[in-house]
């Protein structure tokens, strides 16, 4: 996999297309694995998406007593294997981002797998494909580094607060998520 997930929280418009799209992924059983939350709806409409960070040494896998959470050679952290998962839900507590979800009816854990059926062919995950605001992107590592530098430049030229809405106060502007 040559690409990385790149998030720009500030761009999120709260449309939840990423969640609708997550349900569409093969093997996702029409259940979304990502989250979109309001920062504070009383104050304004800023939302942000949250999905698996595909951590290098993932807490969810480490706390799994059954060794059910596999990591692919590309570093993608998969949902727990059904036959191994014992339903203890350690992973849902262990993950610092609260990503793994638990299906009580089926008694199994499910989580964002970066649309492994797509990304293993270098096809963009569903959420990044559809996000109409480019809040979630699936791009080359170089492009990401370039974007980060360019954004900093723009902030220097334009000042930190280009708008009268205090949007910058609510969320970090961006960060990249590495997959390898």
């Amino acid at each position: 996999m040559n690409k990385v997930m790149y998030l720009e929280f500030e761009r999120c418009i709260g449309c939840r297309a990423c969640q609708a799209a997550c349900r569409e992924c093969g093997g996702h059983d029409a259940k979304e694995r990502n989250y979109v939350e309001y920062v504070n709806f009383f104050e304004n409409r800023q939302t942000y998406p949250m999905m698996c960070m595909q951590c290098k040494d993932p807490a969810c896998a480490k706390v799994c007593p059954a060794n059910a959470i596999q990591i692919t050679e590309e570093g993608v952290v998969l949902s727990a294997m059904e036959d191994k998962c014992i339903g203890c839900r350690n992973c849902t507590f262990g993950c610092p981002f609260g990503i793994p979800k638990f299906d009580f009816e089926e008694n199994k854990m499910y989580k964002c797998d970066m649309c492994y059926d797509r990304t293993k062919h270098d096809i963009s995950p569903m959420c990044a494909s559809v996000c109409p605001s480019d809040a979630i992107r699936f791009i080359d590592h170089d492009e990401m580094m370039d974007l980060r530098r360019r954004r900093t430049q723009m902030n220097l030229i334009e000042g930190k607060k280009p708008s009268e809405n205090d949007k910058w106060e609510y969320v970090p502007e961006f960060f990249g998520v590495y997959s390898d």
Binding site: A17, R45, P132, S133, D134, R151, M154, S163
Partner: protein, 707 residues
């Protein structure tokens, strides 16, 4: 004809046992490109795959687009004709349903004359079908009364563009150019929720430093990201635009050379904007002087700007004036007809652009021709094979058809692809009118609120079960492909019109065996008109990623950028608008102290007939709400989630309060996608624009209390 269209080097995920068919979303005017996943064995629609190489939307979709396919093989589809017997719908055969329609149509026309029948159309259909609705009404039924739901959507934009520019094409520039724009002035458009896939272009431009000014009473997700948010009162757009132009003139931002060479009325405009000082504008609009000045400077100094607007400015009693004034802002800056600049309206319905051009409107004929022009009538009659004398006269606008029902002039109505029981203003009046009809037919694929009033419901296909073309918000004509065979006994709208025409003895005027045959006739009917599609073929659309009208011949490249050399008016010059200030049709009073405004949410489309049946969308937004500022909530002792009672002079409702600081303190917002007791259109105002006959959905005076 290729089913799966993809450019070299673009990767899509192909699932085993499935094929991909390339088409566009059925919902809004963005017409996002998509591939539909079809199971090869069962022929059923199973999912969606992004169309990464569609140049307007690049694979992106909003949640409606992602889930659109779910309406096709939906369990609530109407699969057989329904006839109401003793107040209950009973399934019937097509024969029986058509017999009943024929009997009643003929009886009513012989008793009350030809014009006792009427047709209420819609523009969430292909060009081929929209074109046929006008012909069906006028030739098959011989009635003058035909109009369509675009009156609640695009008619003010159309009226304003006709007045100022002489041609009504929704956007004067192609969307991918937006990336190179320096400033967006957006009024009354919650683009982030209503046309979400546009946002990617705004960010691309903003990454290069472009500025964004948004005028909206709410701090919508669109306004939130603006550089200046002009938080105006609903219904004060004409004051705001005049105030902006006052500053453009005063501060020397007018492109005098352009105005001199290409525009009329500059002196009158200067005269009429004189009184709109920032102070006076601020008093009328409620926007601070500081913001007005800041916005005018940013807009005035930007080398390339686009003025964009939508229903917020159009669904007003002064909708046409608002559009003319905002368009004049772009003209003063010399922007129209140039690269990455111009003026655009966001078309609400999928084919709101194409559907309004080809004769579904009470006074219009194909190719944007006018029914009161004898030459136009002569030409279209020759294409249709009728005598010009047989062409009915102009009818009345959508809302006014209900007045005609009340007065007994219209006795029967055929509603096609529309749900006015939810989407028309002043619902109680609409419902009462439906009840007064002698006979009512509705074509739809779900049992909408309007269907419930019908005597006969005819099951139609969804967009995925038929082919054709639509025209997106840019004016680009694109291809909708057939994805699967019709579900159950449903038929396409064109087949239904054809069958009824046969019953009315007019079958020979509707001899089509397939959609391309309708398209051929339609191209010819539009030939030589303002909206000329003659040079556009299905083949070209496929090869050229769509073709922009006007395109008069097959060797013409189409017209992505409008008005490069001259405008569509008689003298080729644009008409600047000189219009003063006028109050909205209803203003707040001691009894009704709050302004009620309505609109969409990202999860629903129009009257919600489809999106309310889509699980994901209903989970996100199951019911309407009254959005208000905490200051207002506190005054009425309301907490978030409390039920609040709203009442206007026309109707009332109870909804949950949703509290946020992202709205003016004196406004309440309620989305309109629900029917019956949840329909905010019971409360909205039918004050009509004098030109476009657009009702003033956006401004009503309301009183509230804790329920």
């Amino acid at each position: 004809m290729t089913q799966f269209v993809v450019k070299p080097g673009v990767k899509n995920l192909h699932h085993e046992g499935e094929k991909l068919i390339t088409t566009h979303c059925c919902y809004c005017g963005m017409q996002c490109g998509m591939h539909i996943r079809v199971n090869e064995k069962s022929g059923k629609v199973v999912g969606v795959e992004p169309r990464y190489d569609w140049p307007v939307t690049m694979g992106k979709m909003c949640p409606k687009g992602v889930t659109a396919y779910q309406t096709v093989d939906h369990e609530e589809r109407i699969k057989k004709p329904l006839i109401k017997k003793n107040g209950e719908f009973v399934e019937s055969s097509w024969e029986e349903a058509l017999d009943l329609i024929e009997k009643n149509y003929k009886r009513i026309q012989s008793e009350h004359g030809k014009d006792a029948l009427s047709v209420f159309g819609g523009v969430s259909m292909t060009n081929e079908k929209c074109y046929l609705v006008g012909k069906y009404a006028r030739v098959a039924l011989g009635t003058r009364y035909v109009d369509y739901n675009g009156r609640f959507c695009m008619s003010s934009a159309a009226g304003g563009f006709m007045k100022t520019l002489g041609i009504d094409r929704g956007s004067t520039l192609p969307w991918p150019e937006l990336e190179h724009t320096d400033c967006f002035f957006m009024a009354g458009s919650n683009t982030a929720e209503c046309h979400p896939t546009t946002i990617q272009w705004l960010w691309k431009a903003r990454d290069k430093g472009a500025k964004m000014i948004v005028a909206d009473p709410r701090e919508t997700p669109t306004a939130r990201i603006a550089d200046v948010h002009l938080d105006l009162k609903s219904g004060t757009d004409s004051a705001l635009a005049n105030g902006m132009m006052h500053l453009l003139v005063k501060e020397g931002y007018v492109d005098e050379k352009y105005v001199d060479e290409r525009c009329n009325n500059y002196e009158q405009l200067k005269e009429s904007v004189k009184i709109f000082t920032p102070e006076y504008t601020s008093e009328l609009t409620g926007v601070s002087v500081e913001k007005l000045v800041k916005a005018a400077r940013i807009f005035g100094q930007s080398p390339r700007s686009v003025v964009m607007f939508a229903r917020g400015v159009e669904q007003q009693m002064k909708g046409v004036d608002n559009v003319s004034l905002y368009t004049s802002m772009a003209l003063l800056r010399g922007q129209i007809g140039k690269f990455a600049s111009g003026v655009a309206t966001f078309t609400g319905q999928g084919n709101g652009q194409g559907g309004r051009e080809h004769g579904q409107k009470a006074d219009a004929l194909p190719g944007y021709r006018k029914i009161d022009n004898p030459e136009h009538v002569k030409y279209v009659s020759s294409v249709w094979g009728i005598e010009p004398e047989e062409m009915p006269k102009a009818g009345v606008s959508a809302y006014e058809m209900f007045d005609k029902i009340q007065r007994g002039n219209i006795r029967a109505m055929h509603v096609i692809c529309s749900n006015p029981a939810v989407s028309a203003p002043n619902n109680n009046y609409i419902w009462d009118s439906f009840n007064k009809l002698d006979f009512m037919v509705v074509s739809d694929f779900f049992l909408s609120e309007t269907c419930e009033f019908a005597d006969v419901v005819l099951p139609t296909t969804t967009w995925a079960e038929d082919e054709g073309t639509t025209t997106n918000l840019e004016g680009r004509v694109i291809r909708i492909r057939k994805v699967r065979e019709p579900v159950g006994e449903s038929k396409t709208d064109w087949e239904i019109m054809q069958l009824i025409a046969e019953r009315m003895g007019k079958g020979k005027y509707f001899p089509y065996k397939n959609v391309p045959e309708i398209y051929e006739e339609f191209r010819l009917a539009s030939k030589g008109g303002k909206a000329d599609y003659y040079g556009i073929t299905y083949d070209r659309i496929e090869k050229e990623d769509g073709v922009f009208w006007p395109c008069p011949s097959e060797d013409h490249p189409g017209t992505p950028t409008m008005f490069q050399d001259s405008f569509g008016t008689e003298d080729g010059r644009a008409n600047l608008a000189a219009v003063g200030w006028q109050q909205p049709g209803e203003v707040t009073s001691a009894e009704y102290p709050i302004t009620l405004t309505t609109g969409r949410v990202v999860f629903h489309y129009l009257s919600g007939t489809q999106t309310r049946r889509t699980p994901f969308l209903m989970e996100q937004c199951p019911e309407p709400f009254a959005e208000m500022h905490p200051e207002m909530a506190s005054r009425y002792a309301l907490k978030d989630g409390d039920y609040v009672y709203l009442e206007t002079r026309r109707g009332n409702m109870e909804v949950k309060a949703k509290i946020t600081k992202a709205i003016r303190k004196d406004h309440i917002f309620v989305p309109y996608h629900w029917g019956k007791e949840l329909s905010v259109n019971k409360l909205t105002s039918p004050a009509l624009d004098p030109t476009s006959r657009m009702p003033e959905f956006k401004v009503a005076a309301v009183k509230i209390k804790k329920a």
